[in-house]
Symmetry: C2
Subunit: 342 residues, 2 copies
């Protein structure tokens, strides 16, 4: 397996990944929910011309046509965070433009004509924002976006108007969750205009103690101010989480390590594992690796497992459709293989 | 570690051990609860003279004086099933005569002057009975036991009068327990005059799915009839247990193996393990080994763990007194060491 999502980045003991996305619409087409089929095709064509067919100094890009993908293939892209589940379920002529390292994914004809998304491992919001900005510039060299002098970029949903930016960080917060202090964090985030969600965006629950924080407001602040705001809040959460981890460990090291090693023992021996249980156990193991308690497992292995045990990726790996019960068996098999490779 | 209790014997997939004991009292001394100190000494002296000081063609025997043992050393003998907890707590001049392989243990001044006990791994009630009989004969060549023409051997407790024999088999019955069919077995045993107890005799709960079956009646039947009766009932329970194991496994092999391997995973990774949890997990692992599901662990290892994780043996091994919480940590450490040696 390759791609940004198995690498580790800065602050990776708490920050799994950073993401910036820009919502953009071409000036001369109706917004997606009012498009005719020829508009959909024309939008696709223009996006491809600019990002795929023309050369640029960022990377080589590839266009993936949603209509040519099986449901499993679409779902795999969702599980890798490369497209939204809305795009996966889309009936329109839609697609995604991917860079070779999958750090850049540009959804075409989702809620807006373009959703330019850059993903980096660890805490790298600046890098993600810079790359988004470069791609935005490539588009703006060749086309005009729907833009209003007073409001800024125009988008299908009013919550995205202005900068059209959403910056987010995926945080692994087991200690805050264990102690219940996460509730306080969520409250404060709400007051500061920060949204907190589970691993798979809106309406998804926090599986495996993973929380995604992102800005609510896209209007009235510059992109840099928004990024800085998220970074500052993330940094506060990171230091709280680190402090609590140390505190919990020093309070009762055996009890703490017992929990971590039991999870490792179950993960590397079970014959049946649901996604939910796997995420829970992997969270403990990740914590153990991050705290130096588990020393013979690589973080890459955990990241790889986290992607590959999800339903679509798992079925793709096995090469056939599987019922939920069959998946639980294959999932356990896969995890055992990967963990016993150390 | 050496001794019969780590070996495997016939039918050892279900039968952990077989035990026969004879209750005997010297004719010319009061029974223990009415003895004076000089009687206690004299009984000890006679038992030693006959079994330790004189040569015999069975083994070399050693006398261990209870009054010279620390509480931990006494408890170790209880944990190895070599003495009763009553003897361990005794204030009298009491002791135990052990053969070098610890298959024979003769308690002196417990409830009766002598409790001649023979222990074998697996289903070997005949061997245990024959050895008991040989030892009984050695005594009877040199001394007279309290005996009544009509009643047979006289004992402190009327439940032992007659043959003075108790024959028992320690059975590992996880499938009968899992399915709840054990209740039916217990009921039938009761009706047939068979007592069922946990691993440590009277009043002990069935830890780790271990059940000891033994005869209630010692009067009106020959020793051979009593042994045959226990053997027959044990054989029925053994075949029920084996059938259920196969059935449970074939019904859902993954679910069955999942339980077994999770227990192995926890056992070989946990940092804190109570006796109770260890017995429970070891029961699953033993089942896995007996069914060929776990192939890289030796039954000897499980038997060795079963003895060495008990409080007194554990403290003896570590070489110092430990609180319960410290024992749980050392126990987990010891189990990890032993299991990861494969």
């Amino acid at each position: 397996m390759r791609g940004w999502y198995i690498e580790s980045g800065p602050e990776s003991d708490v920050v799994v990944s950073s993401r910036v996305r820009l919502a953009r619409n071409f000036k001369d087409f109706p917004f997606p929910f009012r498009m005719k089929e020829e508009d959909e095709e024309a939008v696709q064509k223009r996006a491809k011309e600019i990002m795929v067919e023309k050369e640029n100094n960022i990377d080589k890009f590839e266009f993936i046509d949603m209509q040519k993908l099986s449901p499993v293939e679409r779902q795999m892209l969702v599980e890798k965070h490369l497209i939204s589940s809305e795009l996966a379920g889309s009936q329109m002529k839609s697609g995604v433009i991917l860079s070779s390292d999958e750090k850049v994914s540009i959804m075409v004809n989702e809620e807006d004509h373009l959703r330019i998304q850059c993903l980096f491992p660890g805490m790298q919001l600046d890098s993600a924002w810079n790359l988004c900005n470069d791609i935005d510039n490539i588009f703006e060299e060749s086309t005009d976006f729907a833009f209003d002098e007073n409001l800024g970029y125009l988008t299908s949903c009013p919550t995205n108007i202005g900068t059209g930016i959403r910056a987010s960080a995926m945080l692994h917060l087991p200690a805050l969750t264990m102690t219940g202090y996460i509730r306080g964090v969520l409250e404060v985030c709400g007051k500061l205009g920060i949204t907190v969600r589970g691993m798979y965006g809106e309406n998804s629950e926090a599986m495996g103690n993973m929380f995604q924080i992102s800005n609510q407001v896209t209007l009235g602040q510059t992109e840099e101010e928004i990024i800085t705001n998220i970074k500052n809040i993330a940094n506060q959460i990171i230091s709280q989480e680190r402090m609590l981890r140390k505190e919990l460990h020093s309070q009762n090291p055996f009890r703490f390590e017992d929990k971590i090693f039991r999870s490792l023992g179950i993960l590397s021996n079970a014959r049946i594992l649901s996604s939910e249980e796997s995420f829970k156990l992997l969270s403990d193991v990740r914590l153990g690796v991050d705290m130096g308690i588990i020393t013979n497992i690589d973080k890459r292995t955990i990241n790889e497992i986290l992607i590959s045990i999800q339903p679509a990726n798992l079925q793709y790996l096995v090469g056939k459709q599987l019922h939920a019960a069959e998946r639980d068996i294959k999932r356990a098999e896969l995890i055992r293989e990967k963990l016993n490779r150390f």
